[in-house]
């Protein structure tokens, strides 16, 4: 264990990365809420597809020397809107995602192989680079997260109503198409933020796993999102704190904490069923 973890300078390190920790916490909250919608809409695969296009956007931005955050957002929003506009049925959405995803990944790899700059920047887009987030890079992430959170709070129950009970929601005056596009836009922005922190390959760990875990232990519309947020923050912040002691990339720690939470929730649900039976 001592080979991997060294917590002797932990306090100093935490201070050094306090901005990154804050970003991680915010992302955890965001992931907890957005993943709740993703699970209800059965859109996990779409998250993966959007993240690959976000990766492509960021790579092209890196190559052409424009802002990487902008590139990531442009790529993911494009993918999200295409999927949202063309395919509002899960089946169609999945096949369309399967078509878009490899194309995005291919473009991204092409752009990265043409890029002559720092190798760490390349790798970071795939696997994340939260520790390297400085104050200047953090500002747009904070603003974007804040905007998504406000949109989420305003449209929360309509989005859920439209996802869970579409026939009745439509009858009660909820425009399903608007909700579908709104959801994809929120998803696109959330992916764009996450890609820069955990990387394109690991976005699912924050935008799917928290709510998937919460759904194992509760169906409540109150406890579900709440637990999901707690799981998201625990994964993001906890994973990061662990990585500080290990001097290793942050993403494997976030994914491991996130996965562990899911396994625990799964065990709880299995035991509960046994007890009831």
């Amino acid at each position: 264990m001592n080979l991997v973890f060294d917590f002797s300078d932990f306090g100093t390190l935490v201070l050094l990365v306090s901005t990154s920790l804050l970003v991680a916490g915010l992302l955890g909250v965001l992931g907890g809420l957005v993943s709740t919608l993703v699970i209800q809409r059965d859109a996990s695969f779409a998250v993966h597809g959007i993240s690959e296009l976000s990766f492509a956007g960021a790579s092209i931005a890196l190559l052409s020397n424009i802002d990487v955050t902008f590139g990531a957002i442009a790529g993911s929003m494009l993918a999200a809107l295409i999927i949202g506009l063309v395919a509002n049925k899960p089946k169609l959405r999945n096949s369309l995602t399967g078509v878009i995803m490899p194309f995005g990944l291919g473009i991204g790899i092409l752009a990265l192989s043409l890029y002559q700059g720092r190798a760490a920047s390349k790798f970071g887009l795939l696997t994340g680079s939260i520790v390297s987030i400085g104050d200047t890079k953090a500002a747009p992430l904070f603003i974007l997260s804040g905007v998504i959170l406000i949109i989420l709070v305003f449209s929360w129950r309509r989005l859920l109503f439209a996802s869970i009970d579409p026939a009745v929601a439509a009858a009660r005056g909820v425009n399903l198409r608007v909700q579908s596009i709104l959801f994809m836009a929120i998803l696109g922005m959330a992916v764009a933020i996450s890609v820069q922190i955990v990387g394109a390959l690991l976005v699912l760990t924050l935008l799917v796993t928290p709510a998937a875990a919460a759904a194992r232990v509760t169906n409540s519309q109150l406890w579900g999102p709440l637990l999901s947020v707690i799981f998201g923050v625990t994964s993001a912040v906890g994973g990061m704190l662990l990585s500080l002691g290990a001097a290793l990339p942050v993403s494997p720690f976030i994914t491991t904490v996130s996965f562990t939470i899911y396994i625990i929730c799964l065990l709880i649900s299995v035991i509960r069923k046994k007890v009831r039976a």
Binding site: I164, D165, A169, A170, A171, G173, V174, N175, Q221, L222
Partner: protein, 263 residues
């Protein structure tokens, strides 16, 4: 008295097939109207037109004074019971809460007035004990009682029921339809009740809208369920048999045949 719903000269043609033509209907508050017809006769299409989900070929539908838009929070809606409902993994109380405030902006309030209204609606449907259960764990009849609670929780002035009794056994059909009738009567809510079999609701309906053969007939059950009326509607010899307060329509042909034939 002002109509809850006015359908004016409405014609609907889908895929070059005329479902109904020049339909006029004024629905008064508290009125219970059954919409009867075979599969493909345009019963559900009529509900969809009222909800603004399909456009009429000709004519207008007004809800209150205004032309119908895409859905309306003053309309309650009870869907068909299905084995695999979209709303499978949701708690009963949350589903009813959606009916009360799901169309509004903001986050859910689980307390205060919402909670009180949800409890009242569940009590009306005799479903308080189901509040913390998963919707998918309920029997078909229980699910439809919860759907009634969800539809009435916001005190709608019009209740649209899209085959709410299909897939239920006879006893459950009776319980659910009587529940809908009682709630509608208590709150003076108008009901449009789509069904392929009129018998479970025969005692409750004020009027019947019978759709068949691209045309329709409106009136009290006694006015519509007559051999001469339905024969002229179908354009062929049809016999209406009343037996123990049950109605059977014989000879309506295979394409437009009435559920009563084989029940």
């Amino acid at each position: 008295m002002l109509s809850v719903l006015s359908i004016h000269d409405a014609t609907l043609v889908v895929d070059e097939k005329q479902l109904w033509k020049d339909l006029n209907l004024e629905v008064k508050p508290g009125e219970f109207i059954a919409i009867i017809g075979a599969n493909g006769s345009g019963k559900t299409s009529l509900l969809k037109a009222i909800l603004g989900q399909i456009k009429l070929t000709k004519g207008k539908i007004r809800f209150g004074l205004e032309l119908v838009g895409k859905g309306n929070p003053h309309i309650g809606y009870i869907p068909q019971q299905r084995a695999l409902d979209d709303a499978a993994n949701i708690l009963v109380k949350d589903l009813v809460r959606f009916g009360y405030s799901g169309h509004k902006l903001g986050v859910f309030s689980a307390f205060g007035k919402t909670s009180k209204k949800v409890k009242e609606a569940l009590a009306c449907a005799d479903a308080v004990h189901l509040a913390n259960k998963n919707f998918s764990e309920l029997s078909g009849g229980e699910q439809q009682r919860v759907r009634v609670a969800q539809a009435i929780v916001a005190d709608p002035s019009l209740l649209l029921c899209d085959e709410p009794l299909s897939a239920l056994d006879l006893q459950q059909q009776q319980i659910v339809s009587e529940l809908i009738k009682r709630e509608a009567k208590d709150h003076n809510t108008a009901v449009l009740f789509v069904t392929h079999d009129v018998n479970p609701v025969l005692d409750m309906v004020d009027r019947v809208l019978y759709l068949a053969n691209g045309s329709f007939s409106i009136g009290t059950p006694d006015e519509v369920f007559r051999s001469d009326v339905l024969s002229s509607l179908y354009g062929t010899k049809v016999e209406v048999i009343r037996n123990n307060n049950r109605i059977v329509v014989v000879g309506a042909g295979t394409q437009d045949h009435h559920e009563g034939d084989h029940k």
